[in-house]
């Protein structure tokens, strides 16, 4: 019995290793395949903003959409999946994915500023008025309005809203820590802003965590963190005691895998991909978009 046993186990191990290796390789784009629609979880600000702008406000995802719990998950999926389509904060998109033109307009900061690229939304922090009695919070808000912050915002690919902002003057007496949580679309930028703020205010620490816009609303409303980050128009109903400050505007890019030949997509096509009630006009396969 000994030899057959070891032979079988050897073969099994080989099959497993080959499978694992093949899994890493990945296939190419195939237009006969279904579009793998990638969406975000309920409570995501990017999702509610995107669905509202393309005209599907309050609708659920199409049947079988892959739900990712954060901006990073969306990018990873599109990077690895040749037949995926997704929406993603423009400031977050890297060269790992291909950004589509929408109605022929490229998703750039200039096009968002002049209003030709339609899929854009504000990124904001919300806070309770009483929070500003804390000098650090007040200073952080002043910093967000300063030219120091606007410079980082522009550098990172977001749309600055203040043209002639004053420079930030540090207050040497400040020391302590504050925390900011919420939208993962704003998290990356907020990390960079926090690093800059901590350079200017040596004794201050700003802790930035994600969780999604829903978390941002909850934490700011209940005072768990001083600031909540949201990536949609402020909805007073979700945090009745809070005030909003819009840090910058951000486009939402429509992204596909790099091996995808598609360059441009229309609003109508996007609607027919993401509309759960599209019925007969629903776009299921890549063939419909790519010839």
């Amino acid at each position: 019995m000994k030899n057959p046993f070891s032979l079988v186990s050897l073969v099994m191990a080989l099959v497993l290793v080959i499978t694992a290796g093949a899994g890493c390789g990945g296939g190419g784009f195939d237009s006969s395949k279904n579009i793998a629609v990638v969406a975000r979880e309920d409570g995501s600000g990017t999702k509610s903003a995107f669905m509202e702008i393309i005209g599907l406000k309050g609708k659920v995802d199409p049947v079988g959409a892959i739900q990712q719990n954060g901006t990073a998950g969306v990018l990873t999926e599109v990077k690895g999946n040749p037949v995926a389509i997704a929406y993603e904060s423009l400031g977050y998109v890297t060269s790992d994915a291909k950004t589509l033109k929408v109605d022929g307009v490229a998703a750039t900061v200039a096009n968002i500023k002049n209003g030709t690229y339609k899929i854009a939304r504000p990124l904001s922090v919300i806070y309770q008025e009483s929070t500003l009695e804390n000098d650090i919070c007040q200073a952080f808000l002043t910093f967000l309005r300063s030219s120091n912050a606007q410079k980082i915002i522009s550098e990172e690919g977001y749309v600055s809203l203040l043209d002639d902002a004053p420079a930030y003057t540090a207050n040497g007496a400040l020391s302590g820590a504050i925390s900011v949580s919420g939208s993962t679309s704003l998290q990356d930028l907020m990390d960079d802003l926090a690093v800059e703020f901590q350079k200017l205010q040596k004794n201050v620490q700003v802790v930035v965590t994600g969780g999604g816009s829903g978390t941002g609303y909850n934490n700011a409303e209940s005072g768990v963190t001083e600031f909540g980050m949201i990536s949609e128009e402020f909805d007073l109903g979700k945090a009745p005691t809070c005030t909003v400050y819009t840090v910058c505007n951000d486009g939402i890019a429509v992204i596909v895998n790099k091996s995808n030949p598609l360059d441009n997509i229309t609003m109508a096509q996007l609607r027919n991909i993401y509309d759960v009630d599209a019925g007969a006009s629903a776009i299921i396969k890549w063939e419909t978009l790519v010839n």
Partner: protein
């Protein structure tokens, strides 16, 4: 001193009580409020007050059933092999390895599934370009439940009196016939207990499932379709939702809790059956 001991003993009962009260007090009124028809409906749309979790119950059951088919067939044959068919010297190391599987955190199973299994299914097996779904999840879960199935059913086989097997051989049965026709039936209730335990593990697993299931609250129609299990539903929304949708997650927890109770009860019944059988067997021997 006795007071402290008593407190420790009572503490777990208190914890259980608190969790029960929390679940039922929050969940049941909510189910009553939205109505059974809504709560056990197929539409989950929290913006419009639809909290139907039927599709998630179905997805949970599919995932569990399929992972049991994979896991039990592999695990049971592993146990049989370790029991009689593999070289003596290899038994201890293989058992150790299988037990090691139980020590791997579930998030690592999830990562493996996300990075290896999902892309593999997507590129080579799936007809529609989706790797996420019931098949990917079942594959991950079937490996996760292996330690339970192998360990418990091997113990059950070892608990069967040796003279059953020797008797079978003496009557002219081959080694295979002895094991499959005599020993396995005799260890039946122990093996069933192993299956029930692993069903519990599969239906309650969250982290690994979330990473490979896809997450869309749709009724499963294919093995390669993004769906959502009960556990995934709770975990995906728990940190972001508030108000009614949050309570809906607690109510989802009530349903999950009910499944767990059901499994525990059947496990106790099976354990009782095994004890009775062993007693009968040892009486017959003496």
């Amino acid at each position: 001193m006795r007071g402290i001991f008593l407190f420790c003993a009572v503490f777990s009962i208190l914890a259980l009580g608190c969790i029960c009260v929390f679940l039922l007090a929050n969940g049941l009124p909510f189910i009553g409020k939205v109505g059974l028809g809504n709560f056990f409906g197929t539409k989950w749309d929290i913006h419009n007050g639809d909290y139907g979790i039927l599709s998630m119950i179905v997805a949970s059951l599919y995932v569990t059933a399929l992972s049991m088919i994979f896991g039990v067939s592999l695990g049971l044959l592993t146990a049989v092999s370790l029991y009689k068919f593999c070289p003596r010297r290899a038994v201890a190391p293989i058992r150790q390895m299988v037990n090691l599987l139980a020590g791997i955190p579930s998030v690592i199973y999830g990562l493996f599934g996300l990075i290896i299994i999902v892309p593999f299914l997507r590129d080579y097996i799936s007809p529609n370009g989706v790797g996420y779904g019931i098949l990917a999840t079942s594959l991950v879960l079937s490996v996760m439940v292996l330690p339970t199935i192998v360990g418990v059913s091997l113990d059950a086989l070892n608990a069967v009196p040796k003279n059953y097997y020797e008797g079978a051989l003496a009557l002219g049965a081959t080694k295979e016939q002895g094991v499959f026709k005599v020993m396995l039936p005799a260890a039946k209730s122990g093996i069933m207990a192993a299956v029930v335990l692993s069903i519990g593990r599969a239906i309650g697993e969250t982290m690994a499932v979330i990473m490979v299931i896809g997450g869309s609250p749709a009724m499963p129609t294919s093995l390669f379709q993004s769906v959502r299990t009960l556990t995934a539903n709770i975990a995906m929304g728990a940190t972001e939702l508030s108000g009614d949708p949050m309570t809906a997650l607690v109510a989802t927890g009530v349903v999950l809790f009910f499944f767990a109770l059901l499994l525990n009860a059947s496990f106790s019944l099976l354990k009782g059956g095994e004890k009775r059988e062993n007693k009968r067997a040892s009486k017959a021997n003496s």
